[in-house]
């Protein structure tokens, strides 16, 4: 309590601002989670589509066989979805390997900011030596640090200009394909547990046909 009494108006405002930022962060993560759930639900529909015909035709009648069949179909679907991002990543890697082979420089740092890396195209700040101030016993950054490198084109970094965006795009695309694979697998597994169950939940005995009374 004594600590809170010693707070100045500025400190209190800073605390409230930090709390609001924290709440906002959690709310953003919450909505992101809802979005991912919604997307995965839609991706799971494809899993149902894969097993629809065999279930409707009665070719597969047991949950275990359905899961095994679903896994085989899912492998094929993963291949169909993921071959493009795989090719992008492969081509990006080939470009870097060819550059290293032709320039005879196998120690290329693709994140370098002086000559060979992608960071030559961005502002690079000296965060290690940024001005700091004491705040509640913690040393926090209090001002913008010095600029180590401004954006500039470097011919030696051309391989990094292809490699890093290619791996980034291909990698994120592949992760989306992996997410879809997980969604389909989960849906197939969930459906295999329910579609072969013969449930009496909605059965009403009074609707059943009445037996004819036969003369004795």
């Amino acid at each position: 309590m004594i600590i809170f009494l010693k707070l100045t108006e500025n400190d209190k405002r800073l605390l409230i601002a930090l709390l609001l930022i924290l709440i906002l962060l959690f709310v953003i993560f919450g909505y992101l989670g809802l979005l991912v759930k919604k997307i995965m639900k839609k991706q799971g529909d494809k899993g149902e589509d894969l097993i629809h015909d065999v279930v409707k035709a009665g070719v597969i009648k047991s949950p275990k066989k359905l899961v095994l069949f679903g896994i085989r179909k899912n492998y094929r679907q993963l291949f169909k979805d993921a071959w493009i991002p795989f090719c992008i990543m492969l081509v990006s890697s080939l470009i870097l390997i060819l550059y290293c082979a032709f320039s005879n420089n196998w120690g290329v740092n693709v994140f370098d900011y002086e000559k060979y890396g992608i960071r030559t195209l961005f502002f690079v700040f000296d965060w290690e030596h940024a001005p700091r101030a004491n705040f509640f016993g913690m040393e926090l950054i209090s001002n913008w640090p010095d600029v180590l490198s401004a954006p500039h084109w470097s011919n030696d970094a051309i391989a990094s200009y292809f490699f890093v965006p290619g791996m980034l795009v291909g990698g994120i695309w592949f992760l989306v394909c992996v997410q879809a694979y997980i969604a389909r697998t989960y849906r197939i597994y969930k459906k295999s547990k329910t579609i072969f169950n013969r449930s009496l939940d909605n059965f009403d005995a009074s609707d059943a046909p009445v037996d004819e009374i036969k003369p004795e």
């Binding site: 709440i23 962060l25 959690f26 709310v27 953003i28 993560f29 919450g30 909505y31 992101l32 989670g33 809802l34 015909d53 065999v54 409707k56 035709a57 009665g58 070719v59 597969i60 069949f69 085989r72 179909k73 492998y75 094929r76 993963l78 291949f79 169909k80 993921a82 071959w83 795989f86 592949f174 992760l175 394909c177 992996v178 997410q179 694979y181 997980i182």
Partner: protein, 129 residues
């Protein structure tokens, strides 16, 4: 307010579980890389042996055949015959069935008038022909 609290609490859970989720995704990504490589090799072998690498599985072929047969059976079903004789002006209702007892309309004047008018129409048709 309830929805906001729900989203806020689920956000806290997602932040706390994010390392586990990231690890799960990373492990699945590695597994999928192996699956992709296996499928690529398998498809190349099938392709060079003359097959269709992304063709239907035998269960799919069987299922399509069964569904097609069912569809054809439905289309070839004989259509139920609809008797359009009743409902016309000359025959507003079916003839009386004597199994139900004496005809209550036998001595009815309106039915006699209708019979006469229908007989006149038949005579007119014969003249026109």
């Amino acid at each position: 307010m309830g929805h906001f609290l729900k989203v806020f609490l689920s956000g806290i859970i997602y932040v706390l579980l994010s390392p586990v989720i990231a690890l799960f995704l990373a492990l699945y990504a590695v597994y999928c890389i192996f699956v992709f490589i296996y499928m690529a090799i398998r498809n190349l072998i099938v392709f060079f042996s003359g097959g269709n690498p992304l063709g239907d599985l035998k269960e799919d072929v069987e299922a399509k055949r069964i569904l097609k047969e069912r569809e054809e059976a439905l289309l070839n079903q004989p259509q139920p015959q609809i008797n359009n004789y009743y409902g016309t002006i000359s025959q507003p209702y079916p003839p009386y069935n004597p199994e139900y007892g004496p005809n209550p309309f036998e001595n009815d004047e309106s039915s006699k008038l209708e019979e006469e008018s229908s007989n006149e129409e038949q005579d007119d048709e014969e003249v026109n022909l």
